[in-house]
């Protein structure tokens, strides 16, 4: 516990000292994320079909569903990567269609692909992304070391990322998303293909982020992960939001034992059948 408190203190202290401008949008009391009637069509396929939801500041929200359900498309729209066919998505008060640059300053995204530059060392990867967020040299060094230490990569920081195992690359990918200490973090399947130990380490880190006041949107098809971490979850299937609430409420409401069974009850199939 002492170690955990120490880490949290570092994160909070860094929040106060880093120079990156991260003011939220116009009204600090409004939700961190607001999605209204979001629709995204790819030719004749509707990937997102009229999704509406809000995520409060400091909330850890889980977006659940099988592969192809529309989770990543929704995240891509929230990150300003994809334009919706209709509807709107705002992050930190900024409409991601109209002011994507401002919104991008606030967010950190751990993409689904284990995307790191293989020819750079772990530390160089982190420093590169810190520079892309125009972090100050000292703040970047401090936070880089802290995150590498926290994710168990400090010993391998000077090794090229191509030498990393899959789990190490995944953890490095999480660091790249959070190097600039974003107010809102999108973690797209952050624990996929991780061994149980690494997965637990990532879970602990996500919990620390939440305790640090960050808003987190977690997409996953691991229902136990959502139950363990999330304040609220939204279950998405065939592009539609079919359930929304806290894991406990959804389980109680549907009279089942866990979220997996909630999904089976609502859709008639297992969440990982389509993987």
């Amino acid at each position: 516990m002492i170690g955990l408190e120490f880490q949290l203190n570092i994160i909070r202290q860094d929040n106060n000292t880093r120079p990156v401008k991260k003011n939220m949008g116009a009204n600090v009391n409004e939700s961190a994320i607001v999605i209204e009637n979001l629709v995204k069509k790819f030719e004749d396929v509707t990937a997102v079909d009229g999704v509406s939801l809000q995520v409060a500041r400091g909330e850890l929200f889980g977006l659940l569903g099988p592969n192809g359900a529309g989770k990543t498309t929704t995240i891509n729209i929230l990150c300003g990567l994809t334009k919706p066919t209709s509807g709107s998505a705002s992050v930190g008060g900024y409409d991601m269609q109209k002011e994507p640059e401002k919104g991008k300053e606030l967010i950190g995204v751990c993409v689904q692909e284990t995307a790191v530059y293989p020819y750079l060392t772990g530390a160089e990867n982190v420093e590169l992304f810190g520079n892309l967020y125009t972090m100050g040299k000292n703040a970047l060094k401090t936070r880089c070391d802290m995150l590498l230490e926290r994710m168990g990569l400090i010993e391998d920081a000077k090794r090229k990322a191509e030498k990393y195992s899959g789990g190490m690359k995944r953890r490095l990918s999480v660091i790249l998303a959070l190097i600039h200490d974003p107010q809102i973090a999108f973690l797209d399947e952050p624990t996929v293909a991780l061994d149980p130990q690494s997965r637990r380490a990532v879970w602990d880190f996500i919990k620390e982020l939440k305790e640090g006041g960050k808003t987190i949107v977690l997409t996953t098809h691991y229902m136990e992960e959502a139950e363990e971490l999330c304040d609220r979850v939204g279950i998405i299937d065939h592009g539609r939001l079919i359930a929304l609430g806290s894991p406990k409420d959804l389980i109680l409401k549907n009279g089942v034992k866990n979220l997996e069974e909630v999904f089976i009850k609502l859709t008639g199939r297992k969440i990982r059948e389509e993987i």
Binding site: V111, E113, T114, A115, Y117, E127, T134, L176
Partner: protein, 385 residues
């Protein structure tokens, strides 16, 4: 535009070039190795018969018998030489230095007299009036120096009426360029093209890099950051310009060590490096076009050769030995103009402000800017930057 982002991305790209063995080989080692092998073994290629432009300054025109005109007609009848008559040697030399003609032939004023003396007493060399045709050759063309003298010599021998060239002849050909102190070597001929050649392989590297970053999700990852498309593209262009500069420097060091010593000053070298830098823009553009039309880095490698090969064969030292049709086609690739300008500067001794060099610079600048723009627009249209 935030300089911090541009510098960070540029450094990243440079590290990639240095650290990835395949990239390092393709960009720096392959051109050098290839040029060595190629320069040593390359012979003439091409189906069509090339035509050489030869400037003629006829000092013999005042002579009433005017055998020189008949000799010139005989040269034209070979269909290999295209003769252009000049009023003065200076004007002809000017065009020679700019590559407009491959040789200048000075017909001496005693040509007809010499010819007549031979016709009168073909078997008594003591009664011949000797004359010398002075021939200046384009030192920037290995083909010109090898092909033009024998053609003129054979035509002259036939014109005089001798059956064999070994028999004493009242009219001699003296090749001015080849009697200079330093003879132009094969290395000298191919060096201007080597500068261009090295840079061409950037096309493949740019295409691979963009396709690879798209495949592994890095492009998406960059787009998630506040990095603007302008910052990203600036960093890419800067990176490859730096790489092109290093390539040119390496090629220069290599050819210098091998004995390349053009009689030019530092401004000409600086100008040559600027030309190569401008040329690298077109290679980034072609690379982006390749990355746009391909879905994987493997496909990008293959498709990039559609741009690499024409530039290589039509626009570098290779092009000088190709058919006339191929040489005409070369005028549609930017590398041709870079090689031509460098040849004019290094081998022909043309000044930086000479019309040919300035025209080459203008064509290279405009075409490279256009190709880069097309590349960026196409890539941005189909794959967001």
């Amino acid at each position: 535009m935030k300089l911090q982002r541009v510098v960070a991305l540029t450094k990243k790209e440079m590290k990639k070039t240095v650290r990835e063995p395949a990239v390092l080989f393709m960009i720096f080692l392959f051109p050098i190795v290839f040029v060595f092998a190629f320069g040593a073994s390359f012979g003439g290629v091409g189906g069509g018969q090339p035509i050489y432009n030869v400037g003629v300054v006829n000092m013999d025109q005042a002579n009433p018998s005017n055998s020189s005109q008949m000799f010139l007609a005989a040269l034209s009848n070979t269909k290999i030489l295209s003769l252009q008559v000049y009023a003065s040697n200076q004007t002809a030399q000017n065009d020679l230095s700019q590559g407009k003609i491959q040789a200048v032939m000075i017909i001496p004023d005693r040509f007809s007299q010499s010819f007549a003396s031979y016709q009168a007493t073909p078997n008594d060399p003591t009664k011949w009036v000797n004359a010398t045709i002075l021939l200046y050759l384009d030192k920037g063309s290995i083909v010109a120096t090898q092909a033009i003298p024998p053609i003129i010599q054979q035509t002259l021998t036939a014109f005089i009426g001798q059956k064999q060239q070994v028999i004493p002849n009242p009219i001699h050909i003296e090749t001015a360029s080849l009697v200079e102190v330093k003879q132009t070597s094969t290395l000298d001929f191919i060096t201007p093209g080597m500068f261009t050649f090295a840079s061409i392989f950037l096309i493949m590297m740019v295409a691979q890099s963009f396709a690879q970053d798209r495949e592994n999700g890095m492009m998406k990852r960059i787009r998630i950051t506040p990095t603007t498309p302008t910052e990203f593209m600036t960093s890419q262009v800067l990176s490859y310009m730096v790489i092109a500069l290093i390539q040119a420097a390496l090629v220069f060091v290599m050819v210098y060590l091998l004995g390349f010593r053009p009689n030019v000053g530092i401004p000409v070298y600086a100008f040559a490096f600027i030309l190569v830098l401008i040329f690298s823009l077109s290679n980034v553009g072609f690379g982006l076009i390749t990355a746009t039309v391909t879905k994987s880095s493997g496909a990008a490698t293959g498709v990039s050769f559609l741009f690499v090969l024409p530039q290589l064969f039509l626009g570098t030292f290779v092009g000088a030995s190709l058919s006339s049709d191929a040489q005409l086609a070369g005028k549609f690739v930017p590398s041709y103009y870079v090689t031509d300008a460098l040849t004019s500067l290094f081998l022909r001794g043309a000044a930086i402000i000479s019309p040919t060099v300035l025209l080459d610079l203008a064509v290279v600048s405009v075409s490279c800017a256009a190709i880069l723009t097309i590349g960026i627009v196409l890539y941005a249209k189909y794959f967001k930057i």
